[in-house]
Amino acid sequence: MKYRGLMIVALLALTAFIGAAWAAELTAYQIAKKSLELENQPNKTSVYKMTVINKKGQQRVYKFKAWQKETKDGSKRLLRFFEPADNKGIGLLSHEKKGGDLQWLFLPSYKKARQIASAEKSDQFMGSDLYYEDMGSKPVDDFEHALLQKVVLEGKECYLLESKPKAGVNTSYGKTRTWVDTTTFVAQKMELYDKKQNLLKTIYVRDAQLIDGIWTIKKYEAISVNADKAKTLIEMESVDYKTNIPDNYLTVNFLETDY
């Protein structure tokens, strides 16, 4: 009886040790995948408020709704602006997949969508500190991931990942460093570098909440290098993971007819 009890305790201890050891051996790829999966949900309908602050401290506020859906070969996303008045009705449709991404911009005054050149993805999104590329999802397989170390950031233990694009991937970034919370796998901070390894901007996650069982970034800030007072603040005002987004929402036809 005595030995039996000791056996059970030893077995439990061994299981815990193996479990802990296994968890500590998550690869960089697995960490990146778990983190990106929080963003790349099968269906996600959200409303955002984006505040762009220029170097003089002047603010410009945008509000837009985003529909995002994962497909078998990538993802599709539609953004529709409803504030301010000069941007009302503007739509941006993105089809992201291996072999090349496609984007369309819809302007209500012209009543038709036009394809945007792929290089324009490195343009600033609505004059903010974010690029068009930042508004799309990043397939985990497009990058080589390396786990640098574990660090503590603002009281949270984080994995520090470094991700570099694979050859042939169309991106304006040469390297990204991401601080990923070891418990929630929510990215807490990102540093984005250009192809010459110069720091371009830093993204700070200010608020993340558990919504419908999914850790969701509710607020983040993007600050470009040498920004002075300039920065971009993105706040998610609402999110819906449960409603299935019809496939026809993420087509050029819908982009042109629903505004």
């Binding site: 409803f82 009543k111 036009r114 004059g127």
Partner: protein, 456 residues
């Protein structure tokens, strides 16, 4: 017909929107603007010419949208009210019901009905396959094409699957283009030549306007297939409908007794001719460039011949009779097919610099030198835009140059956004070239303008 159309729209909207239990989305937006245009003085103006403003237009444009939560039922309307004391509008006021349509939308099928402005084709500003809507030419092309378009009553069915859709539009009620008035500064020289006949013989002319009746066989049809093949977007279009610009048929009865008895020996029929068009467009991007091409072939339509002014003489009744006899054998028009194609690209550097360049070629097949129409043969168009001050200040220019006839226009402007809702614009529109050319004809109409606009 307009009242019937409105009634249909309201009934359809009521049937679609109201019974549905889901909460609906409603939204109103629009703009309030004021534009002042002043003609620019030129060196060859007469000495007694006094400056005048050619436009002082205040416009209120309101757009409304409604949809149920599933977006399976939607309603859209666009109305505007314009005031201009320069005499363009009757009583200085004009109300336009530009669009008003309701629709049912499902993943694979959309059905819409009402009054609507379509925008087909992937080129910019010049679209050979965008044939459904007529345009308002009262101010020539000084307004952008999107603003010139006139809505048409239609029923539209769209079948969609993934990145492809097939759209068919039926237009039962024909709307012609609106042309400049006879006394307008914007009247093109071709129509001036025509009006010279009617004005030369005002007592002897019987002008009859023949407009397609609202009958099933007169319904216009347009259809397009839009899709994606890899990175290339394409569209194929077919159109069977009416030319919104009129053609004129002339019949002369040279019987002197008819003339002497006060009859009208000169009959002029203003007609709208039916034709077909087939074409398509394509667009794709490479690096920072976006390429677009569009083209269409048009079945034979009438093109007018020019009239020798020497044939027109009204010194006396006898002179008039001689003139009419001289016109008896005149060939007024001939049917010819034609084609039009546009090719170009746009390039962007960051968000602050944008350049668009296109070549537009329109060709009447078997064109004869005596024909009036010049069309757009060999037109190079360009557009450049740049922004400063965090996109608050925008400067740009649009322009075109005809490499065959050497006429041109240019529209440089500066726009400043005081707030996201309020902007001010300053610009000029300049025209140049030979008198009997598209833009040279408007040489005396160069103007400067200022506009203030509030969006809501």
């Amino acid at each position: 017909m307009r009242r019937i159309g409105l009634a249909i729209i309201l009934v359809l909207a009521t049937c679609i929107i109201l019974p549905l239990p889901s909460p609906a989305e409603f939204g109103l937006s629009g703009s309030l603007s004021n534009q002042l245009r002043v003609r620019l003085l030129q060196s060859d103006m007469p000495d007694d010419y006094d400056w005048d403003y050619t436009m002082l237009m205040t416009a209120l444009d309101v757009q409304g949208r409604a949809a149920n939560e599933e977006k399976s039922a939607r309603l859209f309307f666009d109305v505007d009210l314009r005031h201009d004391p320069t005499g363009v509008f009757e009583n200085d006021l004009e109300w336009r019901f530009r669009e008003g349509y309701a629709g049912y939308y499902s993943p694979y099928v959309n059905f819409e009905m009402g009054k609507r402005v379509f925008a087909w084709g992937m080129a910019d500003e010049y679209n050979p396959t965008d044939l459904i809507n007529p345009e308002d030419y009262r101010w020539f092309m000084t307004f952008d094409r999107a603003e010139r378009k006139i809505g048409v009553y239609n029923a539209c069915l769209t079948l969609a699957y993934q990145n492809f859709y097939w759209q068919t539009v039926a237009v039962p009620y024909f709307e012609p283009a609106i042309l400049a008035a006879e006394d307008s500064d914007w009247l093109p020289w071709e129509l001036e030549g025509f009006y010279s006949i009617t004005n030369s013989f005002p007592d002897y002319v019987d002008l009859q306007v023949e407009r397609p009746d609202v009958e099933v066989q007169n319904t216009e049809l347009a259809s397009r297939i839009h899709g994606l093949a890899g990175p290339v977007e394409f569209e194929a279009v077919y159109f069977n409908g009416y030319d919104q610009l009129p053609t004129f048929d002339v019949k002369i009865d040279p019987d002197p007794d008819l003339l002497l008895s006060g009859g009208k020996p000169l009959q002029i029929f203003q007609q709208y001719q039916r034709y077909q068009a087939a074409g398509g467009s394509v667009a794709f991007s490479v690096s920072s460039f976006s390429f677009r091409g569009e083209g269409a072939y048009y079945t034979p339509r009438y093109w007018m011949y020019e009239i020798d002014p020497a044939l027109l003489s009204t010194d006396s009744l006898l002179g008039s009779l001689n003139s009419l006899l001289g016109l008896t054998d005149h060939v007024w028009r001939v049917r010819k097919p034609s084609w039009s194609a546009v090719g170009g690209f746009d390039w962007r550097q960051g968000t602050d610099l944008y350049l668009n360049l296109q070549y537009v070629h329109t060709q009447i097949i078997g064109r004869e030198p005596e024909m009036i129409d010049q069309a757009n043969e060999g037109l190079v168009t360009a557009k450049i835009q740049t922004t400063w001050l965090d996109q608050e200040l925008e400067a740009g220019a649009n322009g075109a140059y005809n490499v065959w006839h050497h006429d041109w226009y240019a529209k440089p402007y500066v726009r400043y956004k005081f707030t996201p809702e309020l902007s001010g614009e300053l610009g000029v529109q300049l025209f140049g070239g030979e008198p009997k050319s598209r833009f040279g004809d408007m040489d005396d109409n160069d103007f400067a303008y200022t506009q203030i606009k509030y969006l809501f």
